[in-house]
Symmetry: D2
Subunit: 278 residues, 4 copies
């Protein structure tokens, strides 16, 4: 008996649920959970099912593909640990939270390595027997620096996600394109407010009563990629921007870990610069 996650994205038409569930029934599969959504604006159908039974995943995928409209995508995924690389700079709260969850066995992930432009986090990461590599940006143009990072990442056979756990440098379009829909970033504001540098300072200057954090896939426009998760906390006049920064860390780490978990469990569709999450 195997368990599979089936993710379908198709142009909507009548009978899709019927056709897909017929396939499941034909293979004598048990549906453990099933979620559907139709984006009426774009006439798009999304479906995520978890099934178990005795079936060959490749064959199942082919069978489903056969009954879907053209230009559909179906993924039949056998749940296993995904390979992730974490990129960070100097702050350890978001990285630390992932390391502890990893240690606790909460994440369906192997952490292949942590890449940083500083060595500040090496002592923490090395405690967990995870490779830590410092690739300094000093004296390098951005493309040259990134080439070294890409070279390192590509030294691994299979990387599912790159997690930016407070990696404080802007990525070039080339880097983003190389790992399209694979880079998860945590931005320390409730986007689209306070794009760019030092959002806590911006929030303080504006006198807001809430601050927040946003996890999103990275695209070519700074802080404008598809949003995965967001959360806020209340603040008041007594918070300096450094207080906001301190308190904000708790939201950042929670939101990033939540987004990572959703990705590792294959719960996210990316479409039209948005996410559909089951």
């Amino acid at each position: 008996m195997s368990q599979y996650r089936i993710l379908i994205e198709a142009n909507d038409e009548k009978g899709l649920v019927h056709k897909v569930s017929s396939i499941f029934y034909g293979y004598d599969l048990n549906i453990l959970s099933n979620s559907e959504y139709v984006d009426n604006e774009n006439n798009k159908f999304f479906m995520r099912s978890v099934v178990d039974g005795i079936v060959d995943g490749v064959e199942l995928e082919k069978s489903i593909n056969d009954i879907l409209p053209s230009k559909s995508t179906v993924r039949v995924i056998y749940p296993k640990k995904k390979n992730i690389i974490i990129m960070a700079t100097k702050e350890l709260h978001a990285l630390g939270d992932i390391l502890i969850r990893h240690e606790a066995g909460e994440l369906e992930a192997n952490i292949l390595a942590v890449v940083s432009n500083y060595d500040a986090l090496e002592s923490l990461v090395s405690k967990f027997d995870i490779p830590y590599i410092t690739i300094s940006h000093e004296g390098l143009e951005r493309p040259a620096h990134e080439s070294k990072i890409i070279e390192y990442i590509d030294s691994f056979e299979d990387v599912d996600y790159i997690v930016l756990a407070k990696y404080m440098r802007i990525l070039t379009p080339r880097f983003v394109e190389t790992y399209k829909d694979k880079i998860i970033n945590i931005h320390h504001s409730f986007l689209p407010a306070f794009i760019g540098a030092n959002p806590y300072k911006q929030a303080y200057d504006r006198g807001v009563k809430i601050i927040g954090a946003t996890a999103h896939f990275v695209n070519n426009n700074l802080d404008e990629g598809p949003i995965i998760a967001q959360e806020v906390i209340h603040v008041d006049h007594a918070y300096s921007w450094k207080d906001m920064q301190r308190s904000g860390k708790d939201v950042e780490k929670v939101v990033l870990s939540r987004a990572l978990k959703l990705a590792l469990e294959d719960r996210i569709f990316v479409f039209a610069n948005k996410t559909v999450i089951f």
Copy 2:
């Protein structure tokens, strides 16, 4: 073209989604939304679909019933305004919130009447041209008082829900049985904490840092019916119990209105003293 809500509760077995969606497909119905849940502990399958198309509701219900296991229930509901009666005592915040939502056209409901054991709320209710009837409990045993209320309620042909908007009297088993799964109450605590009288005083005495409210269907055990919705707010040492009571009103009205909305939209299944909500 008509829209229907289909609610199915059945003993779980393989192929249910397939069979039901086949019926939809056979009648050329379009699935607007679809939610399923399997309670593995009790081997129960729950499904709520919204479909549109040209079909006779009675025939559709029969067709679905034919393919379900025995002891299943299926309801094919044509969305229309439900008839509700509100019971209240003296406080007007929860009642007022429902009246305003009703006035705004937010509720799929006709308010047939407001029943109270006092006349305190009559001036508010009468503004909205809704019948208000005072049935005083003074000098009456509980059963005798309730008999008068039941008589009044039963003077209406069709009552879908009885909403207790801070009705501050305990109902007898007979009353509860008469309107089984039709009575929605708001209790002013996060149940199961602080059952019974004056939960804010209990909360204050315990020194809690959150207070809350719980909307639930009423059963024969005080404050122990199936929970529909719950919400909390933060408090601190500076709150007297009267402050908690004042602040709690905002939660109470929000939670009761949320629960009522779920009921009116046929989103709630009651099973094993719990709710499944789609």
Copy 3:
């Protein structure tokens, strides 16, 4: 015995609490609550005390003023109902919430009138025996329209706050200046995100996972005045922008009522385009 609220804003210097509390002690006043805050960036001291005892308010104010640094402001306020005018357009949820709270005696306010550019809300407001005046903007330039509104507002002797309960027109600098720090607006987004028209549509297009509302004093820059209160709720991909709008109403009314309550209880200082709230 009288109760007073004392609000002090001063350039910070050592001994302010000592000096002010000496005055209280000298008049044999009992301090019921006391809050202080120092804005270190601007070297500003804020204090709000509630005291009771037998004292003449004018004399107390003078005595405090005497010991404060120059350019300080002190207000000794005898708590009484404030006079407010509500401006609205066509939506009734935020207005309705204020009317119900007013009816429940929750607000320290007299509602002098509701002013609207449409007659859509007249039937609701007139139920509560509150004057409703329609001042249509049709065929009028903005200044001419506002002149009529100002004329109406100024027909009342004393107006403490003007509450924009979803008044959907932009105010001119002249109007804002006329009622400086007296106009409270509810904006249907978590500012500074989604300034301007149809923030729910903007939020939907951006694919956010939270939506919110912001109550703020109005200044000359659209949606950029000092923020009083903010709140958010979670949404997901299944929300159309109309769903967001519907759900957002609950946040809007809660946030506006919260801000209004803070204003009526004299808990807000406005300084440097921010608020200090005790």
Copy 4:
């Protein structure tokens, strides 16, 4: 220049703020922050001030004591790292969160040791160069087991707080009495709901829509000590009790760390089985 935290608890009487602030003024101290609260029910006055200036702490404490009513307590605290011992059993999320915060320099604390009745967490703790001691309870009566723990704890000169980071054994009155108001526990429910064993199972059985966590000081009645912090998250029918347990971990760790931070910053008064927190 030194910074002091001054915590005062006294029977309330007129002029206390005046008298205390006179002392501050007399020593030429700058008040950085100041919070007061009067518990009217018990006629108790609480005050917490942070001041800086040049003064001897012992002398300051004596001076304040001299002007307070009898039976008052005043603590003048020079902020420095507190010594804490963590007790845990097998789960690592709450412990891990504290370790990471400690590593990040977020906590004003030295972690002297982690004590457990199992060796399950040793590999994690030893990464951080913190002593880990396993004191197995097997084959020991509760008092005998605790004696060994007390002996170990008392081998340290100075222990400010004992943090129960999911220590899953009930403590005897003797243990609790030994470290009165020094033991901080995290209970995995929103107390007073679901006291005792497996609160998530209890919550699941009751069908609640929120689950939570409570940090509290430990007293002799199980889960009935003074509450420091509480938080909840929303759940729905699809959560098994194991899902609740998994999701609840995130709340548990956040609430425990928040409570610990409040304790380390000397922000908590314990009085009448409640906390006053500034």
